[in-house]
C-alpha cells in the first residue's frame, strides 16, 4: 500500500477513481448495487482487475467511459483523467474523451464489430471522428496500425467484413481500432477469454508491446488468475462490487485475503489431481 501511495503522491496519476458506486435496477424492480465504494488510481502501468462473474469488473470499466445505461445510478467523488473530472463533463465533451483519450477493447470480437461494415471503415471511423483527415490519409493510417497489430495482409483485412476474420484476427482489429486515435488509457475487458490459449498469448503480446511503446495506462479485466499474475504489474481483486485486495502481480501467490486465497486454491492442476479441490466458503464478513 505504502509504495503505491508514494507513487500517487509523486505524480498526478493518469486516472484517479474515488468512491465509485453503481446501482442497477433489474426486471423485477429490485436494485442491484453492482459496484460499491471502489477507489483506485493508475499510472502508466498495467493494472489488472480480477474477480468472479458478476463481481462488477466490467461495470467499473464502463463507468469510466460513462457507458452505463441511463437507468443505472452512478455516483463517485471523482473519476479524473489527467486531472479532468469526467463526471462533470457534458455528453458532448465526454464524446471527445471516448476513443480519443480512453478506449476499451471488448471481450468478443465476433459481436463487438459492426457486421455490415468493412473492417477498414470501422477503424478509420474511429480515427476520423476525432481528426479531420481525408479518406486516403485515413486509409494509410489504418494500414499502418493494422501492421502494428501484426496483421500480415493489411490490404485484404481492410476490405474484409468482420465475419470473414478469425477470432484472433478480429481481436487484433479491435485493438487497432481502439488504438488508432492514440488514447492515454486503454481498458481491456476480457480481451482474450473467447480465444484459444496460443492466440491469447499473441494478442497479449501485442497489447503489452503497445502499452510499453506508447506509454499508455492499461486496465486489464479478466477472471483468469494465472494470466493476471503473469501479465500485469498490479492487481485489484473484486468481490461483490468491492475491491477486497490490491497487490503487486508478482506477489499474488502470497495474497492475504481469504477470498483471493480461496480462488487460488480452487484451480485444478495436474499436480493436485489426486486431491479433492478446495472450494470457496464465502464468508458474509467479506461483504462487511
Amino acid at each position: 500500500m505504502s509504495l503505491i501511495q508514494q507513487i500517487t503522491e509523486m505524480y498526478t496519476p493518469l486516472l484517479n477513481v474515488e468512491n465509485l458506486n453503481v446501482e442497477f435496477r433489474n426486471h423485477a424492480g429490485k436494485s442491484i448495487h453492482a459496484v460499491r465504494d471502489v477507489s483506485f488510481s493508475l499510472g502508466q502501468e498495467r493494472l489488472g482487475i480480477v474477480g468472479e462473474s458478476g463481481s462488477g469488473k466490467s461495470t467499473v470499466g464502463r463507468s469510466i467511459l460513462s457507458l452505463i445505461p441511463t437507468s443505472a445510478k452512478i455516483k463517485a467523488n471523482k473519476i479524473a483523467l489527467n486531472g479532468v473530472d469526467l463526471l462533470k463533463l457534458s455528453e458532448l465533451e465526454m464524446r471527445q474523451f471516448r476513443g480519443n483519450k480512453i478506449s476499451m477493447i471488448m471481450q468478443d470480437p465476433k459481436h463487438a464489430l459492426n457486421p455490415v461494415m468493412r473492417v477498414g471503415d470501422q477503424i478509420a471511423e474511429a480515427f476520423r471522428l476525432h481528426n479531420r483527415i481525408g479518406r486516403a490519409k485515413a486509409k494509410q493510417k489504418v494500414l499502418d496500425i493494422l501492421n502494428d497489430v501484426q496483421i500480415r495482409d493489411p490490404e485484404r483485412v481492410f476490405r474484409a467484413y468482420p465475419h470473414e476474420l478469425s477470432g484472433g484476427m478480429g481481436q487484433r482489429v479491435m485493438i487497432a481500432m481502439m488504438l488508432i486515435p492514440g488514447p492515454d488509457l486503454l481498458i481491456a475487458d476480457e480481451p482474450t477469454s473467447a480465444l484459444d490459449v496460443t492466440v491469447q498469448m499473441q494478442i497479449l503480446a501485442i497489447i503489452d508491446d503497445l502499452v510499453r511503446d506508447k506509454g499508455m495506462g492499461l486496465i486489464f479485466i479478466s477472471h483468469d488468475l494465472n494470466l493476471m499474475a503473469s501479465f500485469c504489474d498490479r492487481i485489484l481483486i473484486m468481490y461483490a462490487g468491492r475491491i477486497v485486495e490490491e497487490c503487486r502481480a508478482s506477489e499474488l501467490s502470497q495474497a492475504k485475503h481469504p477470498y483471493t486465497k480461496g480462488l487460488l486454491a480452487c484451480l485444478p492442476t495436474v499436480e493436485n489431481s489426486d486431491q479433492k479441490l478446495t472450494t470457496l466458503n464465502r464468508d458474509p464478513a467479506w461483504l462487511e
Partner: protein
Amino acid sequence: MSFWNLKKKTLSSGTVVKNRLAVPLFLYQALQFISSILLTFLGLTAVTFFIGRVMPIDPVVAIVGDRASSVTYERVKLELGLDKPLYEQYWKFLTDILQGDLGISVTTSQPVLQDILRFFPATWELATIATIIGVAFGVPMGVIAATHQGRWPDHLIRFIGLIGYSIPIFWLGMVGLLIFYAKLDWVSGPGRVDFFYDGIVENRTGFILIDATLAREWEVLRNAFSHIILPASLLGYYSLAYIARMTRSFMLEQLSKEYIITARVKGMSERRVVWKHALGNTLIPLVTVIVLSYAYLLEGSVLTETIFAWPGIGLYITNSLFNADMNAVLGGTIVVGCVFVSFNLLSDLIYILVDPRARS
C-alpha cells in the same frame, strides 16, 4: 423469412471439402428459383381450378344471365368446354398458358392477359406509392420509437401505428373521401384520373404517373397524382403501421448489441450510432418486411378499390370470382402468385446485397 434460406452458417475454421458438383452458386439458386416458381404455379392453378369446380356459381349462368333458355345454356356450356372432365380442362389450361394464352375473360369479353396488363399496373402504382409512404414515414418513426423506448415519443408513435392497425379500411376510406375530397377539396375523388385527361397520354407502362411524365403532360400528372394520393396514403398508413412496428423491434434488438457499445466507445455521436450503425443492421431484416408488405399490397385491396372506384387487380379477381369467370381468376391468381414469389426472391437478393454475411 427467406424462401431459399440463403443465410448459411459461416464457419470459423475447419477444412472445407471441395464441392464435387462444382455448380456455381447463382446457377443453383436460379434452378431453385425456377422450380419454386413452377411448383407454386402448379399449386396455385390446381387450387384455383378446384375452387372453380366447387364454387356455387354456375359459370354458364354467370355468362348467359338469369333468363337464358336451356338451348343457349347448353350451347355456351359446350363452348366453354365445361362438359369435359376437369383434368382435361386443367391440362388445356396449362398448355394454353405455356403458349402465353390466358384465355378470354367472359366478364369483360377481352383476353385475360390484356385485362391484367391494364388492372395490375393500376394496383401496382397504388401499392408503390403506398409503400413509399409507408417506408418514408414508418422507418424513421420506428427508429425514433426505439431510441425513446418507454417514453412519450415511443408511446405516441406506437399509438399512431395501432390506430392504423385497428380501423377498418373501408370506413377510413369513406371518411377520408368525405373530408379530404368532399369537404376540404384537397384531393381529387375516386378513379385514377379525371376522364377528360383520360387517353391524352400514350399508355406505355400502364402507370399513369410515369406515362404522364414521359409525355411531359404535367396537367395529367398533377391530376393523376391528386387522385392517387388519398387511397395511397390510406394503404400507406397501414403499411406504415406495420413497418414502424417492425423497425422498432429490430432496432431495439440491434441497439442492445455489443457493436453499438463499441461505436460509442469510439466517441461517436448518438445520432450517428443510431442512424448509421444500428439502422444499417436493422435494414437487413427490414428489407424482407418491406418487400413482403409491398407484395401483399400488390394483391390489391378489394375494399379500397371498391370505395375509390380504382380499376385494380383485386377488384378484377373478385368480380371475376363472383361471376365464375375462372379464366380471369386463374390469370389473376397466377400473376399475383408469381409476383409474390418473385418479390420473395427479390427480398433474398437484396438480402444478399445488404448483408455481407449472406454473400460469402
